[in-house]
Symmetry: C2
Subunit: 572 residues, 2 copies
């Protein structure tokens, strides 16, 4: 792979791009566009933005990702969770539907893009690993609940606001009397229709003679059907004059190209939110990309994904858009529709641009309650009860991280929730690492294999104590090791040799090295030799130059069996 291919993956696949690829990519882009338009409008509304901004965020970012992203299937654009996070963050600095609010959101996309780009260039993608699956699961489920509840006001046609579950419910309760019945009927009708379409549309289409694959694809147009029909009803019955909120005027034409307003203090204030939005977006995106790559036996490069998403967000900021990332459902549609290359994204962007230029009038009578309904139906599926039960059965520790994240997101917001979840995961891991499982081992008769004396019938020798420590030796457990060895030697008075079996020791850091030297010295002062066995290559490489090896009172054995035979023999 040459340098250019590495930094701009598009240069690799563009060379082999054929006319056939172009046809399938174009077909796929039409289907993706049909799905993306109502999503863009809805997620803009979710972020408290004018509908046009949703469309702006679905043009340049798609082209930027096609150039710089490493996944061939990922479809980027506005997504539910990131849109909600954007809205929550921007609310702290400006009121919705004001010029300041829009400029805060644009700046958020710029800072987030820059941050992703920097992470990618410095190859810091591993930082996203900090978000464990349970934390992500808890965070997504709680966000889905918050998002769905946030939409209820559009479906009731009332005003409501709030940063967390309780504030939201309270505010909604106070305004319940203002419910607009027509809006409620439209909203609930849309939810029921969307739900039924999702469940039965494919079957109906197949009954009408479409193949399973065709029906699958066409069924994705279900939401568009609901959007079109409801818009027509509102337009014909002039329901907007009876209080049903509609999308209204959407300015037509190209997105406004401009540099974001770079206010340094505001940038600093937005940084924490931008970092969180970036990381959440990246994690969501990279999981989706990875699962598709595996299906096609391709691979993705997490650091290049950071560059791709960074470029997408920066270009979103430069064209008046808001933070974007890779979306699961639209990637599935794109994949199912046969998209071969990221060119699908480019074609989709062009189609959205055409829509913006010529079709914005069609959205005038689209009721907001229907957009809210599409959001509700989409996010409700993100609530992962089954996943929670599985984690709960497997590990109470992991489950506690999930529950903590879920609860704190609901009650105190996304930022606090994720920080709680990550901190708790780290602490639980450190707790585990600082309470290592330490087994005294013996030889399983008839083999060269050594196992825990408490779990297996094994051969041992009173004068040779073999200890297996099941953890890398580093600062979190350096002190524990000293304690345990001292304790074991005190309990076994006849011991002359201690063998540290290092099969599970993947690293020895400077703190642990100091502890090992201390242990060696103390054992030596009571006439006991310390030996090491089965030290791994990379660990041994580093130990070679250290004082531990020069001061070691015993030997280093390649295998535990050699150590055991040699030391037992020397006892006669």
């Amino acid at each position: 792979m040459n340098r250019l291919n590495r930094y701009i993956p598009a240069t690799a696949w563009l060379k082999e791009y054929t006319r056939g690829d172009m046809q399938t990519d174009m077909m796929a882009s039409i289907i993706v566009t049909i799905m993306l338009i109502p999503q863009s409008l809805a997620y803009a509304m979710l972020a408290g933005l004018p509908p046009a901004v949703g469309l702006y965020a679905s043009i340049l970012p798609l082209i930027a990702y096609a150039l710089f992203g490493s996944s061939r299937t990922l479809a980027v654009g506005p997504v539910a969770v990131v849109s909600m996070m954007t809205g929550t963050a921007a609310l702290q600095f400006a009121a919705p539907n004001t010029a300041e609010y829009l400029s805060v959101v644009i700046l958020l996309a710029a800072v987030s893009g820059l941050f992703l780009l920097l992470l990618g260039l410095f190859k810091l993608g591993f930082l996203a690993n900090l978000l464990s699956h349970p934390v992500i699961s808890g965070f997504i489920s709680a966000s889905a609940i918050l998002i769905a509840l946030g939409q209820v006001k559009h479906i009731l046609g009332v005003k409501a606001s709030g940063h967390n579950l309780i504030e939201m419910l309270e505010s909604m309760w106070h305004n319940l009397a203002d419910t607009n019945l027509t809006t409620l009927v439209i909203g609930v009708g849309a939810i029921i229709s969307l739900h039924l379409l999702r469940k039965y549309f494919k079957g109906i289409l197949m009954a009408l003679g479409l193949s399973s694959h065709q029906a699958q694809l066409a069924s994705k147009a279900g939401p568009v059907l609901v959007v079109v029909i409801s818009t027509l009803i509102v337009a014909m019955m002039k329901l907007d004059q009876t209080g049903v909120k509609v999308v209204g005027e959407v300015p037509s034409g190209f997105p406004p190209l401009a540099l974001p307003n770079m206010d340094f203090n505001l940038i600093m204030d937005l940084l924490p939110a931008a970092i969180l939005i970036s990381i959440v977006g990246f994690v969501e995106s990279v999981s989706v990309a990875q699962s598709f790559a595996a299906k096609r036996r391709q691979s993705i490069d997490p650091n290049q994904e950071l560059v791709g998403l960074g470029a997408a967000n920066l270009s979103s900021a430069f064209s008046g858009g808001f933070p974007v990332t890779g979306g699961f459902s639209r990637s599935v549609v794109s994949f199912d529709a046969g998209a071969k290359t990221p060119m699908t994204g480019v074609f989709t962007a062009l189609l959205i641009l055409l829509t913006l230029s010529f079709l914005t009038g069609a959205f005038y009578y689209l009721p907001k309650a229907v957009l809210a309904a599409t959001i509700v139906v989409a996010v409700v599926q993100l609530i992962d009860v089954k996943g929670f039960l599985e984690v709960w059965r497997y590990s109470k520790q992991d489950a506690s991280a999930l529950i903590a994240t879920f609860t704190v997101v609901l009650l105190a917001g996304v930022e606090a929730g994720i920080i709680t979840g990550v901190s708790l995961s780290l602490l639980l891991f450190l707790w585990h690492a600082s309470h290592p499982h330490i087994a005294v081992v013996g030889r399983v008769a008839g083999t060269e294999h050594f196992r825990n004396v408490e779990r297996f019938q094994v051969e041992t020798n009173k004068e040779v104590l073999t200890v297996r420590i099941d953890e890398s030796l580093f600062f979190a457990n350096a002190r524990v090791l000293e304690d345990k060895i001292t304790q074991l030697v005190a309990q076994n008075k006849e011991v002359k040799d201690v063998v540290l079996m290092c099969t599970a020791v993947n690293m020895i850091d400077a703190s642990a090295l100091e502890s090992l030297e201390m242990i060696c010295e103390r054992l030596h002062s009571t006439g006991i030799h310390l030996h090491l066995s089965e030290v791994k290559g990379p660990v041994m490489d580093r130990l070679k130059g250290s004082t531990l090896i020069s001061h070691l009172s015993g030997n280093i054995y390649l295998t535990q069996n050699q150590a055991f035979e040699d030391l037992c023999r020397s006892k006669g």
Copy 2:
């Protein structure tokens, strides 16, 4: 061990306390007291407090620790680093030598004591493991430099202040012209005397006929000699009237017993500093306690240490003192002087109380420059260049954590430095864990031992791929594992069986379990079976109920050798 013994260790050793123990403990306490008095005065000055407060902090805390602490040798009281941290923290809320300043410091001791107590009761002592040896080393060295520089103003007799290295040097430079020559002579003279005494006093005493042990002990009185002589000189020559700053009036009598002023907002403001002071104090204390316990084949319980130190700090707060912890040099003296039990601390406390009651007049003419000199000579030894070089040679990663901590402490203060060091250590560890060493292994001929194909001459089979992952499987590397296995299988086209050798896998969390299930499913879809070998007891216990085991396409083997033989045999 019954419940009472467990929470109040004193009840255990008091039962066996003999008259002989009492005699040696009393002797030791006299020597410790002689050393502790000038230290208490000096460290109170270091914290910006009146000298009497240093003595208050050396009475009740010693008794509280004797009751609740688990170390039989540790001598608690004011120490250099914690005193500096106390002063720095208090400066943010009040001006030195005011009543508010004193009440802030007292509150700091109370909050710190409460925090330690809670950590101990909830058995959270492992949190102190977060401070790796390199971080502690960097932090102590930088603190020593800051402390020593902070004393230069007393030795020059000028005014100076500042929160970091640069501010301090600047402020000193501006006031250099005000240097009081007499003070300078006294200060420099004291430093030189202290240094010479430390180096040659023991030799001189031995030449005078004392035994090595006696000379060792008596030489610890060196600083007292300097204090006494310089006080006499100043008193006789009335140097205090020529501008030499002296300790002055020290109120005699019992420490003032009172509840600290519990201002909730102030407590919240002080909390971060209190937490840091507590943890630093605890780490310092527990290392000292552990090294003495090992010498006498006793053990200490870190969680009980937290309770002991918590009680000591609370009682310091209730008697007008400031934060205390276990000190290294005074514990050495106590140990060398033959202290058998914590009763030494009780006797020392009584002797200090006697001093406070009857001897405070003797400190009037004690020059501050001499106290500063004792601090300088004590802390300069804490600068650990040799330790740094050793860490640098062993691991550049650990060294970078040390350097970062050192630099940030010097330039931005202790809090920022420790936070930087701990975060960096954690990130480096996670970086390591998320880039696990993965080896394809084969059998070392003539043994049942499997090693890396790239490092050893080993037997392999084209259709059986054995992969050893040198890391616990958890959220930090769950994604990496998927990538690596997919990659390895893609490179080895003939593979029919993949064996995951789990010798180094000490834990599989929910995130990694999900990844393993994904790997198993993907391999299965291409006709490859996934097997596990040498899964450890605790890991297997947990896996048993999981879906991974029920969906596993291959077997679980007790030993890697059995897996290899079985799978090779089935290939015929």
